[in-house]
Symmetry: C2
Subunit: 128 residues, 2 copies
Amino acid sequence: MRTKRSVQKEAIIEYLKSVDTHPNADEIYDNVRKKVPDISLGTVYRNLKKMTQSGEILRIGFDDGGGRFDGNPKPHYHFNCVKCLRVYDIKIPYIDELDERISKITENSIHGHTLMFRGVCKNCKSKD
Amino acid sequence: MRTKRSVQKEAIIEYLKSVDTHPNADEIYDNVRKKVPDISLGTVYRNLKKMTQSGEILRIGFDDGGGRFDGNPKPHYHFNCVKCLRVYDIKIPYIDELDERISKITENSIHGHTLMFRGVCKNCKSKD
DNA sequence: ATGAAAATGATAACTATTACTATTTTAGTA
DNA sequence: TACTAAAATAGTAATAGTTATCATTTTCAT
């Protein structure tokens, strides 16, 4: 299935690359609608799914529910504030040694890992 | 709200402690019904939620969908096979230094982290 | 044994996501 | 530039997982 371009798809990517807030499908829908007013939510989901499968974007599985998306497909880490629920990028390099270590111990083929920190962010701490 | 015991709740815990398969709510429901035939699915969800919030069990957020539960509340790591979709426990100690490192870099309060490896498990590899 | 608080079963409701389908758009080719 | 098959879309229905509601039952301190 040779993929074809569409203004909808490109608007979604453009929006995702422009933010670092890790929006969910609804937030993406609301924002992309500003540029493409009659895009449908189904189109947003369809494209998010394809782009996730092709590795163009990342889907962040959340311990308590719906998916969030990240326009940066390079593996990196996240921090989830339990108060404001925001997800922040963590700026440390990907730790290859973890994969190597688990690969040796388990004899599984390790493709990668996801690492999510949890706690209270700087901003929320100062609001006490 | 002083919590009270119930046979349903105790059957759920007992089942969860007896397996290491990280079942989802439906699998828990099906199995607990063998001992408590007329338990309802809502009761299963209600108890899983409460126990997760109290820290008695763990909920494992899955990158592609529903929640799975782990009767072992001690933080530990997981491996998710992309072929058979099973979730295995990874037997390495929790890495406190990660939390300390991120704590220093971000000035957030770090409560902990979750680490999920992804790949093809030994069993599935041998089936090729 | 009593009664207030908590838990339950049954069902409805809700949220996130996917499937369906008729129509529109894309892009390769004449 | 017009033609056409494949791909993508909008709109809507359907599904899956989960939570809410509420009348009834169970728990447990007194």
